[in-house]
């Protein structure tokens, strides 16, 4: 459980003509974490990368066009077999042309409707003034412009038109704006336009300004507006109907294109010589036989498969090549697997801390949130989510587990929905013995950090980093310093004295510290760029940092007690408030309401805060002792078989 799935590196050789079938087979198997073979140190220059930039570009272009159509409407996920690529190409061309035409028609109709409405508004503005727009349009020797202008701009307009024959008639006024009719000689039309542009003149749209055909001109304007709006609505309905029709085919086209893109990208990782394709990757040991069968089927037996254990690969031993990590844990630990993965995966050879994280998380959550009632609520909520929200399975499982832990600690603390008088405490009541709770928090930290040190040593040994295992910042020597200091601290806390004379105390604590310092100094002096004084200071800082961080990490766990007390304290406050309220008129109902709302708030808010604290303690205090999370994620090529739903890799 604490070791990831064992991996093996495979090298598949097959004729280049079988490459497409081989990639399909490997993708369908979904077990090979592909390596970029042409880029590998030992293969560089020996094999070439298949050239397929055009295919990739074409696929990306097609995806872009499909996405443009998808913006047209977000479709449901595809169902049924994926279409063939040539069909997708043809269909995307047809759909694009069709949708573009519809969109263009919509723009035209919208512009026409808006223009007609502007004319309608213009005529309505002009009507009270008694100006006949038809006569304005029929002027031969004069030019007239009718529109709105900021009244403060009128003097500027008059000044700029001073040298040309003109007339400005003030018509209706709306706020600071004035409707004006400006008339000039026809030959001064351009000068008038130039002046009007500079004063923010907004010309009224009048019938003579539009390109209305004689037939249209005979139809009343209101009727023309209604017709344009009806045509636009009809087109919108047509677009909506087409959008619904295209939803499924578009999604299927996208899935087929993505699958093809994945194939093209996988092919780019394959090396090739004149006739042979070389495909390399990491496969779980248990799936090698399946890979052999798949390759056999795809190439009709014309292949060679070489399987290597990572320990036999020099690049892996040197750390030049990473082995991808696939967790191997029971299903109920999946939520904590995600928690560990969020920090990072273990490197090859290291222990997978998921199980330890789960146990410590449950314990910390229960300690901080110990309540039978609240735990039952969380577990019930988790159970409901498991049934109703399969996509949130991990969260639901975590809720069930934390709820159970919370309920168990609730029995230990004798607390049910904050009431401490309903059941007896099997252990003790936090509010009655806060000191004990603090000691428990610190002791838990001590245990967890000790475990962290131990795991740090084990991981270093598993990686064959002997020196780090003994002398590293979290190696055996550092652990010895921590444990010595912890033992002395515990004794001092229990009895008020260290139990040793000052000289012996200095010897017991100082000896491992001095040894740690000496090793650190030796290590610093080996650095080529380091001077002696600098090395001395650096190593001294390492020692101080070890001491300070260990103390700080341990003390940090006292928060377990603090949150347990705050949990109980908050509920005491809720019950006090309920009691106060219940003495008023109709207070019994209010009191129950206060208790219910208070409990809901505690479960929701404190539950969240406690989870964050537990994650923080795991990530910063526990992991910092042994875990770096620098491993590579196992991401096999996964292609859905043709005719089935696409899956992501």
């Amino acid at each position: 459980m604490m070791r990831p799935v064992p991996m093996q590196r495979v090298l598949l050789l097959a004729p280049r003509t079988d490459l497409a079938a081989l990639i399909d087979a490997v993708g369908s198997l979904g077990a090979v974490h592909l390596l970029d073979l042409p880029d590998q140190e030992s293969w560089r220059g020996a094999v070439a990368r298949p050239e397929a930039p055009d295919a990739r570009r074409a696929l990306l272009d097609r995806l872009r066009r499909i996405d443009a159509l998808l913006r047209f409407h977000a479709p449901p996920p595809p169902e049924g077999p994926l279409p063939a690529l040539p069909d997708v190409d043809r269909a995307v061309d047809e759909w694009s042309a069709e949708v573009d035409a519809l969109r263009e028609r919509r723009v035209q109709l919208r512009e026409r409707a808006e223009r007609l409405e502007r004319v309608q508004r213009g005529l309505a503005s002009l009507a009270p003034s008694g100006v006949d727009p038809a006569r304005l349009g029929a002027l031969r020797f004069l030019h007239a412009a009718c529109g709105w202008i900021d009244e403060r701009e009128l003097p500027r307009l008059e000044e700029s038109l001073a040298r040309i024959v003109h007339g400005v008639t003030r018509l209706e006024r709306r706020g600071a704006r004035r409707l004006v009719l400006v008339v000039s000689l026809a030959r001064d039309r351009e000068a008038l336009q130039r002046a009007l542009r500079g004063v923010g003149f907004e010309r009224l749209a009048l019938p003579s300004d539009g390109d209305v055909s004689p037939e249209e001109a005979e139809v009343p304007l209101a009727e023309r507006v209604d017709t344009a709006r009806e045509q636009l609505a009809g087109l919108e309905a047509q677009l909506a109907a087409r959008r619904d029709e295209l939803a499924a085919p578009l999604a299927a086209a996208r899935a087929a294109s993505e699958r093809e893109l994945l194939r093209v990208e996988a092919a780019a990782l394959v090396g090739s010589s004149a006739c042979v394709a070389f495909l390399s990757g990491w496969v779980p040991r248990a799936r090698v036989a399946a890979l052999r069968s798949a390759a056999d089927r795809a190439t009709a037996g014309r292949f060679h498969l070489r399987v290597e254990d990572p320990r036999s690969i020099d690049a892996v031993r040197r750390g030049a090549e990473e082995v991808p990590i696939l967790f191997r844990n029971p299903a109920f630990l999946r939520p904590f697997e995600a928690l560990v993965a969020a920090f990072g995966r273990p490197r090859w050879g290291e222990l997978d801390p998921t199980a330890l994280v789960a146990v410590s998380f449950w314990t910390m959550f229960g300690l901080m949130f110990g309540d039978v009632g609240h735990g039952a609520v969380l577990a019930a909520l988790g159970g409901w989510m498991l049934r109703r929200m399969p996509a949130r399975r991990d969260l639901a499982l975590a809720l069930v587990q934390c709820g159970i832990s919370s309920a168990l600690f609730g029995f230990a603390f004798g607390s049910v929905f904050g009431r401490e008088d309903w059941i007896p405490a099997l252990w003790f009541r936090p509010m009655e013995d806060v000191g004990r709770l603090l000691r428990i928090g610190a002791a838990f930290g001590l245990v967890l950090l000790s475990l962290g040190f131990a795991l740090g040593v084990v991981n270093a040994l598993l990686r064959r980093a002997w020196r780090e295992a003994v002398l590293g910042p979290h190696g055996a020597l550092a652990a010895a310093v921590y444990w010595t200091a912890a033992a002395l601290g515990l004794r001092w806390l229990a009895s008020g004295e260290a139990g040793l004379e000052a000289g012996r105390l200095a010897l017991v604590l100082g000896a491992p510290l001095a040894l740690f310092w000496a090793c650190s100094l030796a290590s610093e002096l080996r650095e080529p760029a380091a001077g002696r004084i600098e090395a001395l200071f650096q190593s001294a800082i390492h020692v101080i940092e070890l001491l300070v961080r260990s103390i700080a990490n341990t003390v940090s766990f006292v928060r377990l007690a603090a949150f347990a007390v705050s949990h109980a304290g908050l509920l005491v406050a809720v019950f006090s408030l309920a009691q106060t309220v219940s003495t008023t008129a109709g207070g019994s109902v209010l009191g129950v309401l206060v208790i219910v709302i208070g409990n809901v708030a505690v479960v929701a808010l404190e539950g969240l805060i406690v989870s964050i604290q537990a994650v923080r303690l795991v990530y910063y205090e526990f992991f910092s002792k042994f875990y770096e999370g620098l491993g590579l994620e196992y991401r096999p090529l996964r292609l859905a078989p043709l005719g089935a739903k696409e899956e992501a890799t």
Partner: protein, 334 residues
């Protein structure tokens, strides 16, 4: 003494002290005798001076912080001239398709439209209407958007937008100046009015000579405000050719400069000393009015422009006499 009045008096005193440190013409000419641009710049750096417009904007910021109410508003509106320069820069950059990385360093740090999200949105908006929609209503957002609406979907010329932005800024400034109580108003009209006159003359000259614009355009984009140029003078600028301006505007103080300047650029140079002279003039007499901060800012701005001209002259190897011609600063207080 009431607190705002005391604050005002202190501000005047501090500004008068600062004015004493503005570089005089003599000092600038001494700098011009340096062998090259590097030594000029080194000397300026040692004295904490430079040609960066940010120096002027810092001076504005400092002075505005000293004042309250209308006087502070006048200075804020005066500073908005630099925001108009930013608008012009952004409009030109849009036209040329320049990227934000190229434009950002060139924008002046003014609160109305400095380098920041709004300026970037103006630059990167797909349509001109979207770009103008980003601008705050004052000083130029509303007029520019109104112009665009007036075009009714037809293309608008960038030059029209630039002229409108400038016009809006200067006319807003002039409105604030006219709203000042006496004696602030009298002093501000001398300084700001002279600046507006100079801008008006140079703009008209450029539009006529360089752009070949019509009389209606010159009039409609003219700034309605100024000390010596009113409606009649604006009509002269719009309708008469530049060579007749000197005669037609003989009753204004600028007749000689108009007669001697052979090009809009030379006219601009010839008009710069007028502003410095008015700034020096308002410093004489009563010490408590807005003329003092306005004069200080004019002198700082002139010093910056002169330093720029000086450095450019050294860079291109101009003789000292030619550099001296390009300087607008005066000999200092008499």
């Amino acid at each position: 003494m009431a607190s705002p009045l005391r604050r005002y008096a202190y501000a005047q005193a501090r500004l008068r002290a600062r004015i004493a440190h503005v570089l005089t013409r003599r000092e600038l000419e001494l700098l011009a005798s340096h062998p090259d641009e590097a030594s000029v710049r080194a000397e300026l750096a040692a004295a904490g001076r430079g040609a960066d417009p940010a120096i002027v904007l810092r001076a504005y910021e400092g002075v505005i912080a000293m004042l309250d109410g209308l006087p502070a508003e006048v200075l804020r509106r005066d500073r908005a001239r630099y925001a108009a320069e930013n608008v012009k820069l952004l409009l030109r950059a849009r036209e040329r398709g320049l990227g934000w990385a190229e434009v950002e360093p060139l924008l002046l740090p003014v609160p109305e439209l400095g380098p920041g999200r709004v300026a970037r949105d103006v630059l990167e908006a797909p349509q001109l209407a979207d770009a103008l929609a980003q601008l705050p209503p004052a000083p130029f957002g509303d007029p520019l958007r109104a112009h665009l609406r007036g075009a009714g979907g037809r293309a608008v010329e960038r030059i029209h937008l630039e002229l409108l932005a400038e016009r809006a800024v200067y006319e807003r400034l002039w409105d604030a100046v006219l709203a000042l109580p006496e004696p602030d108003r009298r002093a501000a009209v001398r300084v700001v009015g002279t600046r507006l006159d100079a801008v008006q003359l140079v703009r008209a000259a450029r539009l006529r000579v360089y752009q070949g614009r019509s009389a209606e355009e010159i009039l409609v984009y003219a700034i309605r405000g100024g000390r010596a140029l009113g409606s009649a003078e604006r009509a002269v600028l719009a309708h008469e050719p530049p060579e007749r301006w000197a005669a037609a505007l003989a009753r204004t103080p600028y007749a000689r400069a108009l007669a001697e300047a052979a090009s809009p650029a030379r006219l601009e140079r010839a008009l710069a000393p007028f502003l410095v002279r008015e700034a020096r003039a308002v410093l004489r007499g009563s010490p408590f009015h807005i003329g003092v901060p306005l004069a200080y800012l004019v002198l700082v701005e002139t010093e910056c422009a002169d330093v720029r001209a000086l450095c450019a002259g050294k860079r291109f190897g101009w003789p000292e006499a030619r550099i001296a011609e390009a300087l607008a600063s005066d000999a200092g207080p008499r």
